[in-house]
């Protein structure tokens, strides 16, 4: 199989601004080309768009606006993990030989229709994500004896890390008391336990090994991919305190990369809500079930940015279609030692975990220098 790497990336700040989806997509793509002027647009075989926005024909539109005439042009939607699904599709096009270089661009507006899965009528009138997050929180806290104050540390840590990220939506740091005193959404969820929808875009350019040599001296390779969809509906989750799809996707990605979770130096994980972070760390095998908060507390106390260095979804904001790509860009920057004040000490291997709809579907990527 052809080796596939990431040759370039571009990103916009995540904001609450009101912009057309087409112009946000163009902004991160333009940033990519401005940072990498040697890239020959004629060599781009495919343009893939990741978004939940209902606008039509976005890939041909972005291609025209960017001066690209690709062979393959289409959109990919899979709610919150549209971004990494698009990266997997780009990888597959290159690995199969159908394309040599693929632009993946993801974007979302603050008012994305992807926040609610209308089809999931098993949730009754409780379709907003705060309800599944409350059920996960209640179940996880009860099973492992975790307090609300402990879960608040996830939010405190990730806002702190986001404060070092110039593209993050959050510019503030918070204390556990701030989280506990923020608006009560349900008995088990406060406002500051949640990531926020926002406007933003992120783009990356994937290429075959041969093409990578032309454009970068510090290539980052996609060495592991794992995906699993267990259902579409939240109530089909057999466990409410662990994430089965993440567990399976994580193991597949590590197997493909031929490495162990203990070799992962830095990870971006899908902390849509505070409780997700310990559940994900446990499901991926970073630690035993019930021990996720101990890892998080230790990382926070020692100012170790290993998990969610860019601030995660809680700190950065969550522009659905851009999230997985933005997570991937953070791991690229970390592996290239370009993450400035967020930099982990000389990481060799990084992991991205991106999921949809209460972990009914997960994608995990492993990246290496």
């Amino acid at each position: 199989m052809t080796k596939v790497g990431i040759a370039a990336y571009g990103i916009t700040p995540f904001t609450k601004d009101d912009h057309k989806i087409e112009s946000i997509l163009h902004k991160s793509t333009n940033d990519l080309f401005k940072k990498n002027p040697k890239i020959d647009k004629k060599e781009i075989d495919a343009v893939l768009i990741s978004t939940n926005n209902n606008s039509k024909y976005l890939s041909p539109i972005l291609s025209e606006m960017s001066g690209i005439q690709p062979k393959i042009a289409h959109s990919i939607e899979s709610l919150c993990n549209s971004g990494t699904n698009s990266i997997v599709s780009a990888f597959s096009y290159i690995a199969s030989g159908l394309a040599d270089m693929v632009l993946v661009s993801g974007a979302e507006r603050y008012d994305s229709p992807g926040q609610i899965l209308e089809w999931d009528n098993s949730r009754g009138e409780f379709k907003h994500p705060i309800f599944w997050a409350s059920i996960f929180s209640k179940s996880y806290k009860k099973k492992y004896g975790i307090s609300d104050e402990e879960l608040a540390i996830v939010s405190v840590k990730n806002h702190k890390q986001a404060s070092k990220n110039p593209n993050a939506l959050s510019k503030k740091t918070y204390t556990v008391e701030d989280v506990m005193n923020s608006k009560k959404l349900t008995d088990d969820l406060k406002l500051l336990n949640c990531s926020r929808p926002c406007t933003g875009s992120a783009s990356i350019l994937l290429a075959s090994e041969e093409t990578m040599k032309k454009y970068t001296d510090s290539p980052i390779w996609i060495t592991g991919i794992g995906q699993k969809t267990t259902s579409a509906g939240f109530t089909k989750n057999t466990s409410l305190s662990s994430m089965e799809s993440s567990k399976i996707a994580g193991q597949s990605a590590l197997n493909m990369a031929n490495c162990n979770i203990s070799e992962i130096d830095v990870a971006e994980v899908h902390d849509a809500f505070s409780v997700c972070e310990p559940m994900i760390l446990e499901s991926l095998g970073f630690t035993e079930p019930g021990n996720g908060m101990n890892i998080i507390k230790n990382l926070h106390q020692t100012d170790n940015f290993k998990i969610n260095p860019r601030g995660g979804l809680i700190g950065c904001g969550h522009p659905l279609g851009a999230t997985g790509i933005s997570q991937t860009i953070e791991i690229i920057e970390q592996l290239q030692n370009n993450a400035e004040s967020r930099q982990i000490d000389n990481p060799k291997k990084g992991l991205i975990h991106n999921m949809s709809a209460a972990a009914t579907s997960s994608t995990v990527l492993v990246l290496e220098k």
Binding site: N121, S122, G124, F131, S134, T186, D188, F234, T235, L240
Partner: protein
């Protein structure tokens, strides 16, 4: 009569496969196991509370029917885990199902 037609009239009847007898959820005219047709099993199903939380004065619960079918339902009284409940109200409002249990 379809699941939604019955639900609109306040009846919670779960589709059952005519061939393999599996209860099919989410409701569908075809079985997800053997692909044969389903028909509604017209009985008053009992469910079990799996988990719950509260927003303002209302509880929202994950309720399990028949060992595998789970829905989210409203409850006004304080629920207990593993409590056996029945659907007291259900229907469709603005395209979304709603369920209440007692």
């Amino acid at each position: 009569m379809s699941f939604e037609k019955e639900l609109e009239q306040g009846h919670f009847y779960i589709p059952e496969c005519l061939e393999c007898k599996k209860l099919v959820w989410p409701p569908s005219e075809f079985c997800d196991n053997c692909n044969e047709k389903t028909s509604l099993r017209k009985e008053g199903f009992e469910g079990k509370i799996i988990e719950f939380s509260r927003q303002n004065e209302e509880y929202f619960c994950v309720v399990e029917f028949g060992d595998s079918i789970r829905i989210m339902a409203k409850m006004t009284a304080l629920p207990k885990k593993d409590q056996i409940v029945k659907i007291s109200k259900c229907g469709i409002s603005e395209g979304s199902y709603f369920f209440q249990v007692i």
